[in-house]
Amino acid sequence: MIPLGYILGFSALLFGLGLYGALTRRNAIRMVMSIELMLNAVNVNFLAFSRYLNPGDPRGSIWAIFVMTVAAAEVALGLAIILMLSRRQDDIDVDKVHSLQG
């Protein structure tokens, strides 16, 4: 079978990729997508732990369901904010938004 370490490694890489995207991209929507990748990695973690370390305890699955729910809500709200931004300026470059500083 698949060793637990492989799955955790996959999730760490996925999370790292998401983190990299969130840190480097200037397009707000792309940043949101990267954050979703990170959340997916977390879900993989939850399920893996649930499956390997606590079989029979549904807590991991339930966490995953909650994370998905909240993620959906988060994306909806985030897109609304980005939409608002796109109406004020022509693109959604987060680096163009820096009037608050110092």
């Binding site: 840190l23 480097t24 200037r26 938004v97 110092g102």
Partner: protein, 647 residues
């Protein structure tokens, strides 16, 4: 009567509250309200003192709060030390209230001035009455707050509000140490009450290290509040406030709170030779340090400000030398003569509208009352018997003389000389000689009874209060004040020494004489020497019948003599006087420069460094969300890697 002592603090508090909420008509009479309240307080405090003198004590305490197993009490107590201070504070405050009726008349914030004065009086009395360190700290901050508001009374002038801020910030530096000192005691003993702490310390519950640490930290607060080196820089600036405020807060009461703190905590300090040593050294150094600066000040209030710093140094010297009496006695007499000097200076300033000594002069004929009362204060401070300052300064010098560090005695003696010197100089420049500003001098006049009465009362006390501690009456003050510390406290009350008294008097007289010589153009100068020689010359001429030869010899001899005396005068006396003067002035400028460049610079520099750091740190806040995210993630991952690698 002692059990009613809390009334003393109540009156000014009520007055303040009334002033703040009073409706229309009453609001206009805030001056009367404040004065009456302080007068009532004064009467009560007097009764309390009489009672306490007769042996009465009173205290009350209740539990204010409880933190886990630790109780925080709140309460008040009267003992000889606080009873005496209550009277002093009330009296000076009353005099300042009366004086201000005239001095502050027509001021834009006249009503507020009285309100804050009442609040200050309340806080100061509360500081004296409380029986625990937490209460002390609270009132300590409150008086600081009132001082802040009053220094900045004329805040339209930017310099004034800067001075207020400087005072507040500088004293807060000391407060940091003090609060930590209090907490150290609290953490070790679980109590804040004076009595409990004293008995715990004396019964050996605290190690010597803890006692020394706590004492020195507490002393940090005293250094700030009592403007000792190196935290003294705020006091001269605090002269930006109205002069009566300087008399009350920055001469007689609030600045004395530091001395009061050390005197109050004397049972603790006296257990630690190290702590006492540092108190004495700080005091002794500050005494001479500030005195030399006072010598060259041109602003009459600045002279008095440095003088106050110097005198407070004396008090710490006395306490540090192990004599509770010396410190507290000088505290009392200084309160009288220094507030007197400030109020007299206020009277002068009110009359001539300048604070510059070089724009005064020749005021004596027009302001005799002010001049005489000033001179009583000046002589008292210089230490001329039998005025109050003589007796208390004598105690300090004696304590220093008998202490393990006699070098401090000689320092104090030089400071005594300088004290006499600068106060005489100021006296001369202000009241005597020719008027250097005719315009101002011509319009100078006394300002009515409301300003003259306080001067008179304080002059009486500056002259007579010393008798309380005079050896002529068997040191009644010594026995009285000893009742304010627990029985086991080690009090070094040295026997009088004629040598010390003699030297002190000599220093005072010499100071007055040298100053009179230099500034008054008195007997020391060439002209007066010749005048002094002339009777001899005439006498000789009369006694020995005039012979031509003798005549010729005498004429020639006289000429030769006069040339000789002239040469002596020109080269020797002048030289010495000039050298002394020059040295003094140089020293004063040097210390003054040091004060301004180094100490002020350091204080300001720390402020600028902090602010500059703030500006630099601001740069990191670029406004780019990606910067923020990278910083955040870097921090988290870096901490993770560091922690992991450390295992």
């Amino acid at each position: 009567m002692a059990q009613w002592a809390w009334l003393v603090a109540l009156f000014p508090l009520l007055a303040f509250a009334l002033m703040e909420v009073a409706p229309g008509r009453l609001r206009l009479r805030r001056d009367t309200l404040g004065t009456v309240a302080v007068a009532a307080s004064f009467v009560v405090s007097l009764a309390v003192l009489v009672d306490v003198w007769a042996g009465a004590r009173a205290a009350a305490s209740w539990q204010w709060a409880q933190v886990g197993p630790v109780q925080i009490p709140m309460g008040w107590q009267v003992d000889p030390l606080s009873a005496v201070m209550l009277v002093v504070v009330n009296l000076v405050s009353l005099m300042v209230h009366v004086f201000s009726l005239s001095y502050m008349e027509g001021d834009v914030r006249y009503g507020r001035y009285y309100a804050i004065l009442s609040l200050f009086t309340f806080s100061m009395l509360g500081l004296l009455l409380v029986d625990n360190f937490l209460g002390l700290f609270i009132f300590w901050e409150l008086v600081g707050l009132c001082s802040f508001v009053l220094i900045g009374h004329w805040y339209e002038e930017k310099a004034n509000s800067n001075a207020a801020m400087k005072a507040f910030l500088t004293t807060r530096v000391g407060d940091v140490a003090m609060l930590i000192g209090i907490l150290v005691l609290f953490a070790h003993l679980g109590t804040l009450k004076y009595g409990d702490i004293w008995s715990a310390a004396q019964s050996g519950q605290l190690s010597l290290d803890v006692i020394t640490t706590a004492s020195l930290l507490l002393f940090g607060g005293a250094i700030g509040k009592s403007a000792q080196f190196p935290l003294h820089v705020w006091l001269p600036d605090a002269m930006a406030g109205p002069t009566p405020v300087s008399a009350l807060i920055h001469a007689a009461t609030m600045v004395a709170a530091g001395v009061y703190l050390v005197a109050r905590a004397f049972p603790l300090f006296s257990l630690s030779p190290t702590a006492l040593y540092w108190v004495a050294v700080t005091g002794g150094f500050t005494a001479i340090f500030a005195a030399t600066i006072a010598v060259v000040q041109d602003d009459i209030k600045k002279v008095l400000a440095y003088s106050t710093i110097s005198q407070l140094g004396y008090m710490f010297l006395g306490l540090g030398a192990g004599s509770l009496v010396a410190g507290s006695f000088h505290l009392v007499t200084q309160a009288f003569f220094k507030s007197l000097l400030f109020l007299a200076a206020g009277s002068v300033i009110h009359a001539v509208h300048t604070q510059n000594l070089h724009e005064m002069g020749g005021l004596y004929p027009r302001m005799k009352w002010t001049a005489w009362t000033w001179m009583i204060g000046a002589l008292s401070m210089a230490g001329i018997p039998p005025l109050a300052g003589f007796w208390s300064k004598d105690e300090v010098l004696l304590a220093a003389y008998r202490s393990p560090y006699p070098i401090l005695f000689w320092l104090a003696l030089v400071a005594a000389f300088l004290t006499a010197f600068y106060i005489t100089r100021a006296t001369w420049l202000a009241f005597f000689g020719t008027a250097r500003d005719e315009q101002r001098a011509r319009h100078a006049h006394e300002s009515g009874w409301r300003m003259q009465l306080p001067l008179g009362v304080l002059a009486l006390l500056a002259a007579g209060a010393g008798l309380l501690g005079a050896s002529w009456f068997g040191h009644p003050f010594t026995h009285f004040i000893a009742g304010s510390v627990p029985a086991g406290t080690h009090l070094a009350e040295p026997e009088p020494a004629g040598l010390v008294q003699g030297l002190a008097l000599l220093a005072a007289v010499a100071g007055i004489a040298v100053a009179g010589g230099i500034y008054g153009g008195g007997w020391v100068s060439r002209a007066s020497l010749i005048r002094a020689g002339r009777p001899l010359y005439v006498l000789l001429k009369r006694k020995y019948f005039v012979d031509e030869l003798y005549g010729w010899v005498f004429v020639k001899g006289t000429v030769a003599l006069s040339w000789l005396t002239g040469a002596f005068d020109r080269y020797i006396v002048d030289g010495i006087v000039n050298a002394v003067g020059w040295l003094g002035v140089q020293l004063a400028y040097a210390t003054g420069d040091f004060d301004q460049a180094v100490i002020d610079g350091a204080v300001n520099g720390v402020g600028q460094a902090v602010e500059g750091g703030g500006r630099l740190l601001r740069r990191a806040q670029t406004g780019y969300v990606s910067t923020y995210l990278v910083t955040l993630a870097t921090a988290v991952v870096a901490v993770l890697i560091l922690l992991v690698l450390r295992r």
